[in-house]
């Protein structure tokens, strides 16, 4: 397996405050990786740094070419879809328009129409509501819409920031199943940041643990899940 995304010595700043202190890790093509860490460890910042939404130094390479200094939109156009915290739904637009926006950088009209249908297959509830304003959807529906919108890009890499946030446990299970399917069937590499460590470790094959802006542990998800410290700190048993 080759490294699709390679991050080296990443340091990010919010104004004067440094949030990442030389963070390094790599993502393999086709993997489903989770980033674990306490509140404020720098998980969200890492995702934002990949899309150049926060001032950073260091090296981020995607397919061997550097992402540093590129604008957010041009990074996205390389096939990196980012579902931000809070989902980033276009609340004033309809569900279908949200999906079309996901594919705004694509040119294949027929493909887009087919993909919208495919999304309705994954998330039938979106089809029921396709003319509805996205802001009127429930939290879970909005999260599905956000994932579907990200998939409309036909991404090679998908970054998800706390997809379980604010959702009922049952809905979270469904969502994670679908993420697993997307990873296997569509061969989309996924990097997911999660508070719900247990669920994330069940789903993922790789895991990295962040503490105060650095990677402190990396490995297979099973192996991490069995680690004494991780169990104590993040799984609570």
């Amino acid at each position: 397996m080759t490294a699709m995304l390679n991050i080296k010595d990443l340091r990010s700043y919010y104004g004067q405050v440094q949030a990442l202190h030389g963070l390094s890790f790599a993502l393999n093509e086709g993997s489903l990786t989770t980033l674990l860490g306490a509140n404020g460890a720098g998980k969200t910042t890492t995702l934002r740094a990949i899309c150049n939404m926060v001032r950073s130094t260091g090296a981020i390479e995607f397919d061997g070419s550097s992402l540093m200094g590129r604008s957010t939109e041009s990074i996205v156009r390389l096939g990196i879809a980012h579902v931000p915290q809070g989902r980033g739904t276009f609340t004033s637009l309809t569900v279908e328009e949200n999906l079309q926006l996901g594919a705004i950088s694509r040119r294949d009209r027929a493909g887009i129409i087919a993909d919208i249908e495919r999304m309705y297959g994954y998330f039938p509830v979106l089809k029921e509501r396709y003319t509805q304003q996205a802001g009127t959807l429930s939290g879970g529906e909005q999260q599905m819409l956000a994932v579907a919108r990200a998939l409309m890009l036909k991404p090679r890499l998908m970054l998800l920031d706390e997809p379980s946030f604010g959702l009922a446990p049952l809905i979270v299970r469904d969502l994670f199943k679908i993420l697993g399917r997307i990873n296997r069937e569509e061969k989309v590499t996924i990097l997911v940041v999660e508070q719900n460590a247990q669920l994330a470790l069940e789903l993922a094959d790789q895991a990295h643990v962040i503490e105060t802006g650095r990677i402190v542990m990396s490995g297979g998800a099973k192996e991490i899940a069995n680690n004494e410290d991780v169990r104590k700190s993040y799984l609570g048993y």
Partner: protein, 339 residues
């Protein structure tokens, strides 16, 4: 690094916050400025004294806007309207009712306070760009209201009113211009001291709390509605006094002296002087009085363009206006002293 920082909403605030301390001058500097203002008129010609009087008057008007914007974070592109109300109040009282000029000023102030307070009511519901819009409309509508047939008996309609210039009282041996200058200076200093104290008071803290975060302020128990309208009222009142003084000094009021151009000038004066920095008002005032003179000297109609270009330069290069220079100077002096 906390999650709270990651979640910061990156919405631009209406006005950049100015710490309270930074809003005034030290006592040493103040003394020098007052001395200068006292002595210089004794040495110069009458026309320059007239210009210095206008400098103080516009300084007051800019100060008033500064209290509103720098203090409570509300905009106004409509200050010319309150200035006009003040000017007409003084002029009408003096010419039609023979009221002493000095007495017309508090009346103008109170009347404008009322007008501002009333206008502040609808303005409460508006913020940022909507408030700018409403006040912009107010400023453009004002000259037409003043030209109205109903009031022509008092306002003199399009022709306007001529105001008599007062003599120095008690047989003081000074020219009318010089007397008026010192009279204006006293009023200006009184209002300046009042404003500084206002901003240092409970009300001032309430203003600033609203400016920095309205919702948080109301959660802390600040009566946002009251203080916002109060800020409008105080600002309008001071502008009204300035307007009254202006009418007496220029000896003439007419609708077309109080157009949107005046409102824009005052706004410009505030930005140039530094939003929220009260002493900057006088610098802003100097800017709006002398720059057009110089520009019109070069070519007629050029002053608007010069204004505009300079305004752009200010917002790009010195976004804090004259205050920025003052801060740099302050730091330099501090360094020299230490060495």
């Amino acid at each position: 690094m906390s999650a709270a920082i990651e979640d910061v909403v990156t919405e631009a605030p209406a006005v950049e916050a100015v710490p309270k301390r930074a809003m005034t001058l030290g006592s040493g500097t103040s003394l020098v400025v007052v001395l200068l203002l006292l002595v210089v008129p004794l040495l110069v010609k009458n026309f320059i004294i007239f210009q210095m009087t206008m400098l103080l008057i516009y300084g007051l008007a800019v100060l008033a806007l500064n209290i509103l914007t720098g203090g409570s974070g509300q905009f106004s592109l409509g200050q010319s309207a309150f200035y006009a109300i003040g000017a007409y109040t003084s002029a009408i009282l003096m010419e039609h009712f023979d009221v002493n000029y000095a007495l017309t000023l508090p009346i103008a102030g109170v009347l404008c306070f009322g007008a501002g307070f009333l206008f502040g009511q609808p303005a409460l519901r508006l913020s940022g760009v909507y408030l700018a819009l409403a006040t912009f409309a107010l400023a453009t509508a004002m000259p037409q209201l003043l030209k109205l047939g109903y009031f022509e008996k008092w306002t003199g309609g399009v022709q306007g009113l001529v105001v008599t210039k007062p003599d120095a009282p008690f047989g003081l041996p000074m020219s009318q211009d010089m007397w008026l200058y010192y009279f204006t200076l006293v009023v200006t200093i009184a209002i300046y001291v009042f404003s500084v104290n206002l901003l240092r008071s409970r009300s001032g803290r309430a203003f600033m709390a609203i400016r920095d975060n309205e919702i948080a302020a109301s959660a802390m128990g600040v009566d946002v509605a009251l203080y916002k309208t109060l800020a409008f009222g105080v600002s309008a009142g001071i502008t009204g006094v300035a307007g009254g003084l202006g009418a007496i000094t220029v000896q003439f009021v007419a609708p077309d002296s109080y157009t949107i151009t005046l409102a824009i000038s005052l706004f410009l004066g505030m930005v140039v002087g530094g939003v929220g920095w009260l002493p900057g008002s006088i610098i802003g005032s100097a800017f709006i009085i002398f720059v057009p003179n110089i520009a019109e000297g070069i070519s007629k109609g050029l002053s608007g363009a010069v204004f505009g270009v300079l305004l752009f330069l200010v917002i790009y290069l010195v976004p804090h206006g004259a205050r920025q220079f003052a801060m740099v100077a302050h730091n330099l002096i501090g360094k020299v002293r230490r060495n």
